[in-house]
């Protein structure tokens, strides 16, 4: 891609979003001017990837160091949008339910179920 084209992508008022859930990728743009809220973004993800009956987590890859950071409120969503240059890579994962069974001499056997992530 030529330098002019790369510059055109970064200067634009849009954030390019690329989402991945399992093996499915989807791409779309969001306007920086519209100030999309986290709840709206989550609803959009749910609609696109058909996750209406699935508990899921939204994360993004920080382009500077490759860390996987969460998007779960307006603040970290806004920060994620700022890191997009111009692409925001979003990873969607299923919430995993894990059951623990505790057994101890002092305590009776307990079942504990919680989300792993």
């Amino acid at each position: 891609m030529s330098k002019n084209k790369i510059a055109a992508r970064i200067d634009s008022q849009s954030v390019e979003v690329k989402t991945k859930f399992d093996a499915e990728f989807r791409r779309f743009s969001l306007s920086r001017l519209e100030k999309v809220k986290y709840e709206d973004f989550k609803a959009l993800i749910e609609k696109l990837h058909r996750l209406h009956d699935v508990a899921f987590l939204i994360s993004y890859t920080d382009p500077r160091d490759g860390d996987l950071l969460p998007i779960n409120n307006d603040d970290n969503f806004a920060r994620a949008l700022l890191t997009a240059r111009p692409l925001l890579r979003v990873i969607i994962q299923r919430k995993v339910l894990v059951s623990f069974v505790f057994s101890d001499l002092n305590y009776p056997e307990q079942n504990k179920t919680q989300f792993l992530n």
Binding site: M1, K5, A8, R9, E16, K18, E24, F25, R26, R27, F28, S29, K47, L48
Partner: protein, 131 residues
């Protein structure tokens, strides 16, 4: 049959050139960059002669080599927007009849100037016709 002019020439400057490869045949069509999802779906169904009860998925391959699903207007607009940004490329639609899936391929031509692009396109077109 030789291919017609590439995208960027005056008579089709507002249109997106779509190459559809399906069931051994190659079709060249032009679509408007403002096309609606429904119109685009109808176009693909007409080209591949799908009946209205046949379920299929449309994907395009982005500059990173990942197939991106199109099922909303938002995603179709993004595919066409990125196509226009990478105007040296063609937008190619592949049909896979055995799984009833259409893949829209965006050919990568990152460093090529337009004359080399034309030469490669001619070669690809001839190879596809032989299949």
């Amino acid at each position: 049959m030789m291919p017609t002019q590439l995208v960027g020439q005056d008579n089709h400057s507002n249109d997106v050139r779509v190459k559809t490869v399906y069931s051994g045949d190659v079709f060249i069509t032009y679509i408007n960059h403002n096309i609606t999802l429904e119109e685009f779906t109808q176009e693909m169904m007409a080209i591949c002669r799908f009946t209205s009860d046949q379920v299929f998925t449309m994907k395009w391959v982005d500059e990173e080599g990942d197939p991106c699903t199109i099922s909303t207007q938002l995603e179709l607009d993004e595919a066409l927007r990125l196509y226009e940004l990478n105007r040296d490329s063609e937008l190619t639609v592949h049909g896979e009849f055995y799984v009833k899936k259409i893949t829209i391929m965006d050919e990568k031509t990152l460093d090529l100037n337009s004359s080399r692009c034309k030469a490669l396109y001619n070669i690809r077109f001839r190879i596809l016709l032989k299949v």
